[in-house]
């Protein structure tokens, strides 16, 4: 059975790296602050909603950009949603790409938009993998009888 303290150290190191590398920002910490005994799965719930929502948005974006005549207002509206939800959970790198993406929408720059779509998809997949790893680590700690360290 893995030592709890080892797992906890792993958790702290991993979380710290996510913040240092800009995958997550302070907003994620805000989410964690909202989790309590009355709602012990809050962070996982919100992040799962984000995953579902993001995948829909990515599909919608791909479809919108494949149209013969691209409706940039529609594309922008999807990116605006994506920017909002990623910002609300602290997925900083995704939000940053969305900012550039919106600029290209304004310019009606198809190439720019297509590039941003690839980029935002890439950043989304990265942060999704990171968060899934983080949640797995949490589960392991709890299963080993430990408590999840609070990150300040």
């Amino acid at each position: 059975m893995a030592a709890v303290s080892q797992l906890q150290r792993q958790f702290i190191e991993y979380t710290t790296s996510l913040y240092n590398e800009g995958y997550l920002d302070d907003q994620f910490t805000q989410l964690q602050k909202l989790q309590d005994e009355s709602n012990p799965e809050f962070v996982v719930e919100v992040v799962s909603l984000f995953f579902e929502d993001s995948e829909k948005l990515l599909n919608n974006l791909a479809t919108a950009l494949q149209q013969k005549i691209v409706d940039y207002k529609q594309v922008d509206s999807h990116v605006h949603q994506f920017k909002g939800s990623s910002s609300s959970i602290g997925a900083q790198r995704v939000t940053n790409v969305c900012v550039h993406f919106r600029n290209y929408c304004e310019e009606k720059n198809l190439d720019g938009c297509l590039r941003c779509l690839q980029q935002v998809k890439h950043e989304y997949i990265l942060v999704r993998n990171k968060l899934e790893t983080l949640f797995r680590l949490e589960q392991q700690i709890v299963q080993a009888g430990g408590s999840i360290p609070m990150m300040e």
Binding site: Q30, L31, K33, D36, F42, Q81, G84, S85, S87, S88
Partner: protein, 146 residues
């Protein structure tokens, strides 16, 4: 820590946002700040809940007999913006004194001024933090019984 509240003591907030994640977040922020929360996904639903939709009978119990102590709404929503919702609320004799807070992810001075001039109590930038909502709850919500 759990506190027993009587119905009249707990402020009731209507939160309006078209983004599912933001709706869940604002609901949790408000609940953590000891508020009862009803959410609506757009302006029209909000108006329906408040009993302000056209053809609805206006009464003192805004729709379902539950008093609303504050309305917090996103600015950018499809169909009806938060500003338009604010307007409708301020035009209502029954609801004009209910504090309305507008949230937005965009820091646009014209937009902020426009909302404040229309009577919004406050304009808050998203993403909201727990400390912001706690402050809001203490400063704004007066629980008055009819």
């Amino acid at each position: 820590m759990s506190i027993e509240y009587h119905e009249e003591d707990v402020p009731h907030v209507l939160a309006v946002d078209d983004n599912l994640i933001d709706r869940k977040l604002v609901e949790k922020l408000l609940k953590t700040s000891s508020c009862r929360v009803t959410t609506a996904e757009n302006g029209l639903r909000a108006l329906e809940y408040l009993g302000l939709k056209e053809n609805q009978q206006q009464n003192h119990f805004n729709g379902k007999g539950t008093k609303v102590n504050m309305i917090i709404t996103d600015y950018c929503m499809p169909g009806m913006t938060g500003y338009e919702l604010l307007q409708k609320i301020k035009e209502s004799s029954v609801l004009k004194d209910v504090p309305v807070v507008i949230m937005s992810s965009e820091n646009i001075p014209n937009r902020i001024n426009e909302c404040l001039e229309k009577g919004a109590e406050r304009f808050m930038l998203k993403p909201l933090k727990l400390s912001d909502v706690l402050k809001l709850r203490h400063q704004l919500i007066k629980c008055s019984t009819l």
